[in-house]
């Protein structure tokens, strides 16, 4: 098992877990919530807005500009 395989497997597992949580949240299964609901809760506070803005900007800079 190569390091490449381990790293990619880790990312795929985490993304699959996120997808599963999203689907369970959309299906209304407790205690899961869709990611958008969590973000909306974060956006309801001023601090949460700035944190999400900073995270969004970092993602754009990291993947699209660097």
């Amino acid at each position: 098992m190569t390091a490449y395989f381990v790293i990619v497997l880790g990312f795929v597992t985490l993304l699959a877990a996120m997808l599963a949580m999203e689907l369970l949240g959309r299906a209304g299964r407790e205690p899961f919530s869709p990611f958008a609901r969590v973000l909306e809760a974060a956006l309801a506070s001023r601090t949460g807005r700035w944190v999400l803005w900073a995270a969004w900007l970092w993602i754009g800079f990291h993947f699209l500009a660097r």
């Binding site: 990312f11 205690p31 919530s33 969590v38 956006l43 803005w53 993947f63 699209l64």
Partner: protein, 145 residues
């Protein structure tokens, strides 16, 4: 038939379409900038500054102050439970930690970070366009919620 009530909604709809058209146009132009260049960085910073202004001008929406268990069942889905919040925070942190592990393990072809894995996609114009559209759509969602 009263038609005056439809006017504000129609005006809002036209406004949203204009924003969407602007976002698509911006993505089409910004995707022309290759990564690791100053124009790409400037394009991200301009969009970031615009979002900053919009966020600063919009007051945060009030959220329901009731506990989830106190809400009627149809409203429970609107407020995420503490456990679901913790689960999402945990998963996002795990992705961040995994990214850091890949970064410090090597950050090369054998030990790729998420950005290295996405490089083949973002190196082409269509891939970059999709990336820009997704990023700007997320920003639009953020400033309108």
């Amino acid at each position: 038939m009263p038609q005056g009530n439809d006017e504000p909604a129609r005006a809002r709809g036209v406004g949203l379409v204009r924003w969407d058209a602007l976002i698509v146009l911006y993505a089409v132009l910004a995707a022309l900038c290759s990564p690791l260049t100053a124009p790409a960085a400037v394009a991200v910073l301009i969009a970031g500054a615009a979002a900053l202004v919009l966020i600063a001008r919009r007051p945060p929406r009030r959220v329901c102050s009731h506990r989830v268990s106190e809400l009627p069942v149809p409203q429970r889905g609107a407020v995420p439970s503490r456990r679901s919040l913790l689960l999402w925070v945990l998963l996002v942190l795990l992705v961040g930690c995994w990214e850091l592990i890949a970064l410090f393990w090597g950050n090369d072809r054998e030990h790729p970070t998420l950005s290295l894995l996405l490089d083949p996609i973002l190196d082409s114009y269509p891939g970059r366009l999709v990336g820009w559209l997704g990023w700007l759509a997320a920003g639009r969602w953020m400033v309108t919620h």
